[in-house]
Symmetry: C2
Subunit: 357 residues, 2 copies
Amino acid sequence: MVAKRAGVSRQTVSNAANAPHLLRPETLQKVLGTIDELGYRPSHAARALRTRSTRVIGCRLLPSNYGGTGGVLDRLLHALCDAARSKGYDVLTFSVGTDDEEIGVFEDLLRRGAVDGFVLTNTHHGDVRPNWLLAEGARFVAFGRPWGRDQAAHSWVDVDGASGTRQAVEHLSALGHARVAYLGLPEGNGVGDDRYRGWHDAMAALGAPTKGLVARAEDGIASGRAMADQLLALPIQPTAFVCQSDTMALGAIRAIEDRGLRPGEDISVVGFDDSPVASLWRPRLSSVRQPIEAVAQKLVEVLLAELSGLQRKPSRDLLEPWLVARESSRRAPGRADRVSIPDVPVRVATAKTRFSN
Amino acid sequence: MVAKRAGVSRQTVSNAANAPHLLRPETLQKVLGTIDELGYRPSHAARALRTRSTRVIGCRLLPSNYGGTGGVLDRLLHALCDAARSKGYDVLTFSVGTDDEEIGVFEDLLRRGAVDGFVLTNTHHGDVRPNWLLAEGARFVAFGRPWGRDQAAHSWVDVDGASGTRQAVEHLSALGHARVAYLGLPEGNGVGDDRYRGWHDAMAALGAPTKGLVARAEDGIASGRAMADQLLALPIQPTAFVCQSDTMALGAIRAIEDRGLRPGEDISVVGFDDSPVASLWRPRLSSVRQPIEAVAQKLVEVLLAELSGLQRKPSRDLLEPWLVARESSRRAPGRADRVSIPDVPVRVATAKTRFSN
């Protein structure tokens, strides 16, 4: 139908979807214009044209047992299924222990023709999976930047963690806090370093001290408690903590209570990821929330563009998180009357796309 | 290879896997014996023989937003992926809003040959999905009993909720509690009625009163708080609460605190599902834990038996949950010295299978 209307061969229509580089630009435009005219969306038309389309997206299911405060990747899976199904796709999930095992599953699924492409999660330094997929010619998009790699090698979608911790510092600064400490992961973790950088640069921009206000350890309530306790033992205590995770933040709240101080009232705490426990805790925990639904929609959109063959250059999308301020972050003591903070976003994410091609 | 060794036709081997009722018992035994002899597991052999096997199991992804304390179905998905992959299968997940939409997805996936079978979750009264699947000849197993239906119509795996609440009552009774109240869902919900029954029957068996000790409302912290508050206003207060969910239990804890009483010390509380928040809360929440990993393994085992065609009768497996006792359930006041309860299972589930065929 498209071929007839556009006055081209079926092969040309097929090429428009699967190998657009084989067509002259004006022919490609004609075919796409006709597809548009007929009311098909390009991705649907391309899908119908692909002979071996499974309409299935493969995605590893990561354990979400970060001390019970995790859940971002479970949220992502739900959002990914929603976003995929709205485009007529489903998600095939698999559980593996290591990246090597994941590559084994990729190989198996590709050999069996069980999926059209993949969503890669948990990208990290020295990640061997992207190059393996690129070498195989597999279609994929990553949730997470190619830390330390050529940014242009493949499409990715990520959340701007530095912006999240910067928003936390600015929020605390507006509440009168000057000594804002940071609890984070040991150096070398891409996500961790990004969040640390946001705190550091925001503090520097405010002319606030950063020296001696950082503690680093693996994630966990116990480690958050120990790190916060160490900083609270300083001659001049921090008045607030920005934390890499909600788990660390809950540990910081305990350390504050251990010293007979009131979290939120005496010392403020901001977590990261707005896990389900954040709004249940007492005091209710202020936390940076990732725009997971927008991430999932963008991942599906980019992967479908990759599958359609219409995506010529890898795309890069960095989405903005936002701070949800609750009772655990309040006006610094001695600065002014305490105010009650409603449970609303301080800044509503607009799912701003910064570097999209 | 199997056909040659067993001295039968390929069609006979195929029938052994796909239509065993067509074969004489001794022929079937011979083929299965040969498969065994060659070191294949029956399910693998059957799989290899099935011409249209996808090695994919379809499963709806249910939202897990029960006030932040849910997560049982997310746990199930992780466990299901693990169990499936250990058998060479993967799980295709899809997100839909209603049972009718789910049937639409079943239809789509079956037409496309995208899955071999389904795991059905969240079975309920008046559920139209099992009959639809049976009518289509689709292979499936349900997580959840066919509430109010012919128990023999299809295979299912479930957790014995009544046993869970009975264990909670027995635990509290052993701690000296006689007035143990129940907070649950409105009547008519299969899971809810089952958990209520466990509490009721255990109380009756102990000769303890049940009258005026029940409150019912939809799930939620606010409703748990309101229900508990109502029962705490009685002339003779309950000394403990057994709750349908951890969410209701957290509400009960707040209601106890609202009255200046100490949860765990003055009034005990036991939740259900051992959600991630249970061990993080203060006091740490005693809760009934479902054997989700065993459920997932059983679901995959039963579904593969269904797929192999070797399963002649629907199977029924009811697994035991167990109580994890923590700080929120302690010796009744005035009974004896308070004891500290370690964070260990009171009774370790043996994944006991009661009604398996």
